[in-house]
């Protein structure tokens, strides 16, 4: 080493021979820096990384839960929609059936009413015919007697007699007509 130092002094320094002060400063500097890194820097970074990982994983889990919830809600809504549609169809069918029923009822009722009205009309007509027959009989009797008195020229004012004649005539008329109807 002494030899090398002498040569270095003569020929210019030997670049491979270290200065021990520089070596010492480097080693101490490195170890000090190493201590600071191990004690403060690295734990802080590692803790940050861990917290961040936890936060991200928590966020992902939360997002997955929210997604699942949303899917469940969607399924439920779809189910409800199907139910509602079925219900609507059922109600529509019912309404249609009910409508048909109502229509049928109304038709029946209308038919019954018309029958009733027709019968009533028949009865009324019969009654009116009877009334007409009764009033005609009285009037025809009077007219016929008057006519016959004028034709015969004899007074048929005797009411009793004339009335008897008319009654007999009408009775004949009726019997002949009923005999005709019977025949």
């Amino acid at each position: 080493m002494l030899n090398a130092a002498i040569m270095a002094a003569e020929e210019g320094s030997n670049p491979l021979i270290p200065n021990l002060w520089e070596l010492l400063v480097t080693v101490v500097g490195f170890l000090v820096l190493m201590y600071i890194v191990r004690k403060f820097v690295m734990p802080a970074f590692e803790k940050t990384f861990e917290e961040r990982t936890a936060a991200i994983e928590g966020g992902i889990a939360k997002a997955e839960a929210a997604q699942a919830e949303a899917n469940a809600a969607l399924e439920e809504y779809k189910q409800q929609l199907v139910d509602a549609r079925t219900e609507a169809n059922r109600i529509r069918e019912e309404a249609r059936a009910e409508g048909a029923q109502i229509l049928a009822d109304l038709k029946e009722k209308a038919a019954a009413e018309s029958t009733r009205i027709t019968e009533q009309a028949h009865v009324q007509i019969e009654a009116e015919r009877q009334a007409a027959v009764v009033s005609l009989r009285a009037e025809v009797g009077t007219l016929a007697t008057d006519l016959a008195g004028r034709i015969v020229g004899e007074s048929l004012a005797d009411d009793a007699r004339s009335s008897r004649v008319v009654d007999r005539f009408l009775a004949d008329l009726e019997s002949s007509s009923s005999a005709g109807a019977a025949k």
Partner: protein, 273 residues
């Protein structure tokens, strides 16, 4: 040894090329030593820069890691990215396993310590990669040498040395050749190359910049118009070299840390190799 010292330029010509000694500034507090001498020496720029790097790195990462926010700000993001890079793409990928985190502080400190000290060489006025002085390179490589040997011994006991040099499944007559090679390769060549790789690349880059600078100064000062014109070419070339050197500075920090991780992994899993 002598061949490694750059030859002093011939004195008959006007240009005197700078020697390695010129990369060593006068000590700030000299106590009578010279560069290249084992124990003597003063407190120089190199040591000041080393201390400055420790302060800068510690300050930045303490600030970056202090406010632990879920959504990081710019400084915190930068710090986390830097830390995550060493932690994951060097520590986790190379060492792996459950307990790689134990070794991340070593790798992290090594990477940024070497990186910042190298980058000093690319910053005007500072302009001195501290690892261009061999003491620093030996020191940091020695730390890692002791670290991975220590890890191996702690994990496998004294058997580690056997595991490290005797490959399994090799016949005895081959072992006669292989074992010495493995001893030399693992316990001598490895730490030496680990330090020299860093030291030599930094020194070479630094020398090139110094050489270009002094050459430009010389050419301009000659008063010869042709030489002055040529100095522009040197300037352009030196800028290109500066860029290359900046790349190498980053690359060497990465390589140093990567190798440290590989050595640690080798010591941890010596039985599997």
């Amino acid at each position: 040894m002598i061949a490694l010292a750059l030859p002093a330029a011939t004195t008959e010509e006007g240009f005197v090329a700078p020697t390695i000694d010129d990369t060593h500034y006068r000590d700030i507090f000299p106590w009578g030593g010279e560069y290249g001498v084992l124990l003597e020496g003063g407190f120089g720029k190199q040591m000041l820069l080393t201390i400055l790097s420790v302060v800068l790195i510690a300050a930045f990462f303490l600030v970056a890691s202090r406010r632990r926010q879920m959504v990081p700000g710019k400084v915190q993001f930068l710090g986390e990215t830097a830390y995550g890079f060493v932690r994951n793409s060097i520590g986790k990928d190379i060492i792996g396993g459950k307990d790689f985190l134990k070794y991340v502080p070593w790798l992290f400190t090594a990477f940024f310590f070497v990186l910042v000290n190298n980058i000093f060489g690319a910053i005007p006025l500072l302009q001195l990669p501290t690892f261009s002085h061999p003491g620093s390179a030996y020191g940091i490589a020695a730390i890692f040498f002791l670290l991975w040997v220590g890890i191996g011994v702690k994990k496998h006991g004294i058997r580690y040395f056997k595991l490290a040099v005797v490959p399994s499944g090799v016949p005895w007559y081959i072992l006669l050749i292989v074992v010495p090679i493995e001893i030399i390769s693992n316990f001598i060549v490895r730490p030496v190359t680990h330090s020299l790789r860093l030291f030599a690349t930094m020194l070479a880059g630094h020398l090139i910049v110094t050489l270009a600078g002094s050459a430009i100064e010389y050419m301009v000062m000659t008063g010869n118009i042709l030489l002055q014109g040529t100095s522009v070419l040197v300037l352009v070339g030196s800028v290109a070299m500066y860029m290359l050197e900046a790349l190498i500075m980053v690359l060497q920090a990465y390589v140093f840390t990567l190798l440290a991780a590989i050595y640690i992994e080798g010591a941890l899993h010596a039985d599997a190799h």
